[in-house]
Symmetry: C2
Subunit: 233 residues, 2 copies
Amino acid sequence: MKRVLRSSYRTIRDELLRRISTRVWKPGELIPGEEALAEEFGAARATVNRALQELARTGVVERRRKAGTRVVLHPVREARFVIPLVRQAIEEEGKTYRYRLVASRGERVPGDVAASLGISAGLPLMHVRAMHYADDRPYQFEDRWINLEAVPAARTAPFDVQSPNEWLVENAPFSRATFSFLADRAREEEAVLLELREGDPVLVGERITFLVDRPITFVRLVHPPSHRMVSEL
Amino acid sequence: MKRVLRSSYRTIRDELLRRISTRVWKPGELIPGEEALAEEFGAARATVNRALQELARTGVVERRRKAGTRVVLHPVREARFVIPLVRQAIEEEGKTYRYRLVASRGERVPGDVAASLGISAGLPLMHVRAMHYADDRPYQFEDRWINLEAVPAARTAPFDVQSPNEWLVENAPFSRATFSFLADRAREEEAVLLELREGDPVLVGERITFLVDRPITFVRLVHPPSHRMVSEL
DNA sequence: ACCAGTAATATGTATAGACATAATAAGTCA
DNA sequence: TGACTTATTATGTCTATACATATTACTGGT
């Protein structure tokens, strides 16, 4: 039973996707069941199932037991942005990466950061500020708070040679994280370090990481306005 | 068949993830093969395979034939942001959505937009500008160019009652899209409509969509600086 | 009309077995 | 030593079959 026509879950997935994006099957419409598709493509149901599950994961179709599979009404597509290490991102652009520590010391955590981490204000955390350069031009300012209760080793970590980001990746596991992006005005210190004027628009990424509900670190990553976050889909 | 211990690909996946995030298996390390894991968990290799493939898709492990599966060295996690329809996003926040058309007419496309779409400048495109409000407060300004060659019906579409975003979702299929986000200064018109001052920082999303290499539309979505794009991970 | 209980059904998951494929390791010859 | 060739191996994919589970559809009773 040697399939003359090669048929993998990929080709099935792509063909289904084609029918959806060319409106052979319209939004909201019910598409044939797995059995029927399996027969049409001369494949096993498991193979069709895999193709459909991938489409469901990417949000193209919705599946419910007994009810069947239907094309999603409003394609709430999701964009995926990779959040690489700064060094990696810069070197992949073919540029030279440079790191510089600005300051690193224990400090009492201010209210807004404490709130983000869900701890009480005034606790002593590690506060590390550092710059990342691409071809000697300012690329990112990293303003980070580290919970010393969760990561005591951070107090004596060598942040003058290794960025807190990389150090944490190697030394502090995390299980959950929250990202957000926003536009903000450059604060005074940020403006100086990024070679902007105070109040200039900057693209800010904020990340909070936890290890099973225990807050690890809060970081504000500030980019000059030329910076873009890009995603293909 | 008797599995006393229930064991699905989910529990296997979660257990593997636990071992990785608690550094039982450290970054860069090779983990046992599928056969071995299958035996350990008392499952079929296909089941272990499914668990491992999910971990690979989320970027936790890297797999290569013959070489085996290893924990990724630098967890280049990717953040997924859902890009819903504006109306949906606002209503999910429990706010009231309102739409207002600002202007809609054929225009010669300026150079920068033409370049983004990969067409020659000066061609006549549809230029639509509109506002989206949440509880009567400015939420997003939509500044869109539509390729009339690809979507001729856009010339006479009722953009005064339906936002170009929604109209396109229902009337123009696309196969590929590019998103990018950046921080910018509010332009004059944007500042007025968003009730900001000119030059205030705004979070801008740009989207370009294609149907098999044929450019469909370019849109600039401008949000006031209070806006955040959030992603859990 | 209404509700509860039951049957029917599409998808979800697991399995053993088989072959495909990519990449490394080992072996061979110049 | 180095350049090919071949064997080995872990993952990739497919199949047929079976049972699980969530929902819908039906059915009878009040």
